[in-house]
């Protein structure tokens, strides 16, 4: 079995004990994203046609660039994605990320992230394949406990 399987369409889903509005805020404001999104600060006005950018926490380095394609707060956000943190991935064409937020029973929100149009971006596909599960796990932990996910850092 190959270990470096990179799917051209990737789907990630998680239930979070929070309202769609809270999840929306957590995915669109840098105060939240720096605490679960590999430390990166997302910069976006969520207006279609404007940039969707990911910066290092100190804003010294741009990690991801994209453009907002569609925005229906607090239900749907779609933007393009080009990874700048890796030179090989940066040379590939834009792929697409869609965030779907759906209120479910019991005060929970089902968040689904679809990363697709990766057919021409195999390096990006590999690089994000492990990352999204980690990001969504961290987002869930942050919203449900108020604490970022730091793998056992405080146990020593």
């Amino acid at each position: 079995m190959t270990t470096m399987t990179a799917q051209a369409t990737q789907v990630y889903s998680v239930f979070i004990r929070a309202t769609p509005e809270q999840v929306w805020e957590a995915i669109t404001t840098p105060e939240f994203t720096t605490r679960y999104f590999f430390g990166s600060a997302v910069e976006t006005t969520c207006e279609p046609g404007t940039p969707w950018l990911g910066w290092s926490a100190d804003h010294a380095q741009q990690l991801v660039e994209g453009e907002v394609l569609q925005s229906e707060p607090p239900r749907l956000l779609r933007h393009t994605w080009r990874a700048l943190y890796d030179t090989e991935a940066a040379a590939e064409p834009f792929s697409r990320v869609t965030w779907e937020l759906e209120a479910a029973d019991g005060g929970v929100t089902k968040l689904t992230v679809v990363h697709d149009e990766l057919e021409q971006a195999p390096k990006t596909a590999v690089s994000v394949a492990g990352g999204w599960a980690w990001v969504l796990s961290g987002l869930k932990t942050l919203l449900e406990t108020g604490e970022p996910l730091v793998a056992g850092e405080e146990t020593a």
């Binding site: 369409t9 599960a133 796990s137």
Partner: protein, 105 residues
């Protein structure tokens, strides 16, 4: 989505096999998955339903087709909730041991 459902879903070899097939190539139809298993369509459907209820498989519609995707997030959550916790303790215990041995040396 609770841990029990994920552990139960993973406790069956056919379901783990289905996850491995999806890991190799994602976004498959029931018919495609069924063709690789010695099992009735109904049997495969039943297993996929358990995986879906546990959040390990997510379905998306594409035209008239229903595509099945592997969702690794529940496994990641179990990893973060359980595996990290115990492995970190072990690492910490070894670090303590090293510290103690070096102190007394």
């Amino acid at each position: 989505m609770d841990d029990d459902r994920v552990f139960k879903a993973l406790a069956d070899p056919t379901r783990r096999h289905l996850l491995d097939r999806l890991f190799e190539r994602d976004g498959r139809t029931l018919t495609e998955l069924e063709s690789e298993l010695e099992m009735t369509r109904f049997g495969v459907m039943k297993h996929l339903r358990v995986l879906e209820d546990a959040g390990l498989v997510v379905t998306r519609r594409s035209g008239r087709e229903k595509l099945h995707y592997l969702n690794p997030v529940p496994i990641r959550l179990i990893h973060d909730r359980w595996i990290d916790k115990y492995t970190e303790h072990r690492v910490a215990a070894l670090a303590d041991l090293k510290h103690e041995l070096e102190e007394t040396a």
